[in-house]
Structures are given as structure tokens and as C-alpha cells.
């Protein structure tokens, strides 16, 4: 496991576990798992469906409560907070979702304003942030449009603007590109990378698409059967040969007909460019 020297972790999960009983009566979920994401990092979580990726992500803002263990975000132990304290902590943890989860009866600008209204921010400050964030995602012209009239990629941009408006420390991304086509996916990854560069926001991203993880993330946690089984440094877009992830790619990866280009100067160690673990598994 590569060591990362950083002053203070943005996200720290200590031996968190969470058990569910699935519809077939099997006990599934997370086995005691720990994860440290240093401030400013873009960290990916990859694995087959049912490996517990989304559960792990949803533990970070306690949308899912762990049965045991501790969740610490920006030095604050969320698991010990009372409801009001948890709500305050959540004001600084942004989240985006596979299906965007925008309010369809509110304009784009009102959607972006929502988390700040919830946090009780000053109206002038809200206007300023809404304008800045819509500008950042390139949708300033769509402020007064309803989300129903936007494309999927535009909706996810609005969701990113919404998540960034309250200036979060941490951005959680739950399969943010899985409902989008490959080209839109690339545009969106650029927006996320840019948000990380410009605002220093720590990003924890769950995806089953290797290409997404490889392009965006500096480190990746590989999950299997409710546990992180491997952590890799992939900052150069390289998947270390001999790693479990590399052998997965060799086993399940298939060369797509229209493989997208690798990042400049960083050819993948594995020749499989577009790769969906979930699809291979199904």
C-alpha cells in the first residue's frame, strides 16, 4: 500500500462496518474497513457490483450509518455528533449522484442555491456563489432554465455546481458518469479535475468504470466482498503490473472498438482502455 504523507486527512474511516440482509436473505455489506483520504486527493473506489462501494461512500456523510467504527471528516467525528451537528457538518460535504437528483420544479439557479439556503446563507452571498459556480461549470446561460430541458451531461454539471456552491471540503461522487455517454463522461471528468485543482476540494469517487478512475484519480481503493483489498497509486494513469486490479483487467477487460486516448505521456500499463467491471461481471 503506497504511503501518502499529508498533514491532515480529509476523510478517515476507522473500522467501519455495515451489514444488510439482501432480498435473498444473504447477509451482505461492509466488513470492518478503514480508509484514509488525504486533503486535496482525488480517490477512487472501484469494484464489482455488490462489493460495497456505494455503501462505503454513503458512510462518509452518514447517509448510511455504520454498525460499528468511526467516520471522521475534516477532523470532526461525525459518528459522535447529534443530529443538528451532523446537519452542520453535511453543509461542507458535497455529493453528486448517478441520477443527478435535481429538483425538477426549480430552475437551475434555484437548484444550485438550495444547499446554501438550507445552510441559512446570506441571500447576496448565495447569488454570488450561484453565479460563480454556474460559470465554473459553463452553464451561466442556463440559470433560469428548468432541469427537464437539459441534457444528462448538463444536469450533472448543475449537480456539480450545486455541490460546490457551499464551498465544501469534500466532494462525494457516486457513479457520477455511469448514466452518461463516453464523450460527456470525459468532459465531466475534466470539470471534476478542475474543481479539485482550483478549489482544492478532496474528491472521493465511486465508479465501476476503470477508465473514469484511471483518468481522474490519484489513488484507488479496490473493493471486493465488502472490503478494500488493495490500494494503488495511479497518479500517472499507470496501473501497477502485478496488482490485483491489473490482473482483473487482464481477466475481464476487453479492448473496445473505440478506445479513448490515454492521457498524454501516461500510457496505461494494461492495454485495455475502456473497461466496465460491472458489465463484465453481469
Amino acid at each position: 500500500m503506497p504511503s501518502t504523507a499529508s498533514p491532515k486527512p480529509a476523510i478517515e474511516l476507522r473500522d467501519v462496518s455495515r451489514r444488510f440482509t439482501d432480498p435473498g436473505g444473504h447477509v451482505v455489506g461492509l466488513r470492518p474497513t478503514s480508509l484514509i483520504v488525504p486533503e486535496g486527493e482525488i480517490h477512487g473506489i472501484i469494484g464489482f457490483s455488490g462489493a460495497g462501494k456505494s455503501t462505503l461512500l454513503r458512510l462518509v456523510n452518514l447517509l448510511e450509518r455504520p454498525d460499528a467504527g468511526e467516520v471522521i471528516v475534516h477532523g470532526e467525528n461525525l459518528t459522535r455528533l447529534a443530529p443538528a451537528g451532523l446537519r452542520r457538518a453535511r453543509h461542507r460535504i458535497g455529493m453528486i449522484f448517478q441520477h443527478f437528483n435535481l429538483l425538477h420544479n426549480q430552475t437551475v439557479a434555484d437548484n444550485v442555491a438550495l444547499p446554501m439556503r438550507i445552510a441559512g446563507a446570506d441571500p447576496a452571498r448565495i447569488r454570488e456563489r450561484v453565479a460563480a459556480c454556474l460559470d465554473f461549470v459553463g452553464l451561466a446561460a442556463k440559470a433560469d432554465v428548468y432541469p427537464g430541458r437539459l441534457s444528462g451531461g448538463q444536469k450533472q454539471r448543475v449537480a456539480i455546481a450545486r455541490a460546490l456552491a457551499p464551498e465544501p471540503h469534500v466532494l462525494l461522487a457516486d457513479e457520477p458518469t455511469s448514466a452518461l455517454d463516453p464523450r460527456t463522461t470525459l468532459d465531466l471528468l475534466e470539470v471534476l479535475a478542475d474543481a479539485n485543482r482550483r478549489f482544492g476540494v478532496t474528491i472521493l469517487l465511486v465508479s465501476h468504470e476503470m477508465e473514469v478512475i484511471r483518468r481522474l484519480c490519484q489513488r484507488v481503493s479496490v473493493m471486493e466482498a465488502g472490503q478494500i483489498v488493495e490500494q494503488l497509486d495511479i497518479a500517472g494513469g499507470q496501473i501497477p503490473a502485478g496488482s490485483r486490479l491489473a490482473s482483473w483487467l487482464a481477466d475481464y477487460g476487453s479492448v473496445g472498438p473505440a478506445a479513448s486516448p490515454s492521457p498524454v505521456g501516461a500510457p496505461a500499463a494494461v492495454p485495455h482502455h475502456h473497461f466496465a467491471l460491472e458489465a463484465a461481471h453481469a
Partner: protein
């Protein structure tokens, strides 16, 4: 028929006014109290943000079912002592408004609870992730995303209780239904019966059309 219409015009106007009064009272009670009850039942249902208040949810659900089990005319008679306490009398439109309101509150609570189920869970979850309190979820998410369904729920409520208010006529509740019973039924004046039914049809059509138009206008999905 025209003669009857002219002759009974003051009665018809008075009856229409009484019907509208009963509707106004019971709809207001239903929207305020029934709406609040419906929202609470929704929020305390399993998997929602106040799902930990399971006991409240069970009791409130049971109560709604019990009140809704009563045939309206039985409820009307059964609670007449209570009506007398509240309205000071058990006849007339004001008195009839008491059982109407009680029936409407529980009817609307169920309608609202079911309407809110159409708000996607993911949107509510997004608001929870932003740190929204249950009250903020109601205000910023449920009432916003559910608004066209809520308008239609009020429309259904208004139409149902227009017809319930006619039942109140049986026990001297006043209103258009009372007119129909006193003239049309007891005195076999078919023309009065026809007039009252036409009047009710016009009212129902108006409510329905207005409700649907408003629902469409507020729906941006």
C-alpha cells in the same frame, strides 16, 4: 322548469352559498390539519427521514384508517354530540362542517401521504446529504417536487366533499344537497332535482378543470 328556477332563485342562491361555505371550511381544515398529518405520516414511514418514529406512524396510520372506515352518514350522526359542543347546534351548514372537516382531514392526510410517495427518494436523499432538517425537506423538496400532485389531491378532495356535503343535507345540513332532498325528493319536484344536479355538475367540472390547469402550470418536470 324556468318558472321553478325563477321562483326558487333565492333558495338556490342560499343553498349554493351554504354549500360553498361548507366546502371552504372543510377544505381549509383538511389542507391545514390533514396536510400536516399526511406529511408527518409520510416522513415517519420506514426509510424516510423521521422513520425512527415508528410508533407515531403506526398510530396515525391506524387512526386514519379507522376514521376513513366510517360511512360518512354514520360519522355525521355518531359525532353529533361533539358537533353540538363545537358549533353550538347540530343542524345547519356550520354544524355540518364539523363532521365534514373531520372526514376531510383524514381523507386528505391519506391522499397527501400517497402523493408524496411520488417524490423520488434520490432527491430527498440529496437534500439530506446537504444537511437539510426534516422541516427543510418538507419545504424545499416535498412541497416543491410534489406540488402538482398536491394540487390534484386538493382537486379530488374538493370534488369528493362537494358530494359529501350533499349527504349532510339529509340531517338538515343545508346546501344544494338539502335543496335536492327537500324539494326534489320529498316533494317529487323533478325539475328542482334536475336543477340541483346540473348545478353540482357545473361545480364539479369547474373544480376539476381549474385544478388540472393549475397542476399543469406548476409542473416543470
Amino acid at each position: 322548469m324556468l318558472e321553478t328556477l325563477i321562483e326558487l332563485q333565492p333558495e338556490i342562491l342560499k343553498a349554493t352559498g351554504e354549500t360553498l361555505l361548507m366546502l371552504a371550511i372543510c377544505l381549509t381544515a383538511a389542507v391545514v390539519l390533514g396536510g400536516a398529518l399526511g406529511v408527518l405520516v409520510f416522513l415517519t414511514s420506514p426509510g424516510q427521514s423521521l422513520g425512527r418514529f415508528r410508533g407515531f406512524n403506526l398510530v396515525a396510520n391506524g387512526l386514519i384508517n379507522v376514521v376513513r372506515s366510517f360511512p360518512f352518514i354514520i360519522l355525521l350522526v355518531a359525532i353529533s354530540p361533539f358537533t353540538r359542543v363545537i358549533a353550538g347546534t347540530s343542524i345547519g351548514p356550520l354544524a355540518a362542517s364539523v363532521p365534514l372537516s373531520i372526514a376531510a382531514i383524514f381523507y386528505f392526510a391519506r391522499l397527501i401521504e400517497q402523493t408524496l410517495r411520488d417524490v423520488p427518494r434520490g432527491v430527498i436523499e440529496a437534500a439530506e446529504a446537504m444537511g437539510a432538517s426534516p422541516l427543510q425537506i418538507v419545504r424545499h423538496v416535498l412541497l416543491v417536487e410534489g406540488r402538482s400532485g398536491l394540487v390534484l389531491a386538493v382537486t379530488v378532495l374538493a370534488v369528493s366533499f362537494l358530494s359529501y356535503s350533499a349527504v349532510a343535507g339529509v340531517v338538515g345540513g343545508g346546501g344544494i344537497g338539502d335543496l335536492a332532498i327537500r324539494y326534489g325528493y320529498y316533494r317529487f319536484q323533478t325539475d328542482v332535482m334536475v336543477i340541483t344536479i346540473v348545478l353540482l355538475v357545473i361545480l364539479v367540472q369547474t373544480i376539476q378543470i381549474l385544478g388540472q390547469q393549475l397542476a399543469r402550470r406548476v409542473d416543470k418536470r
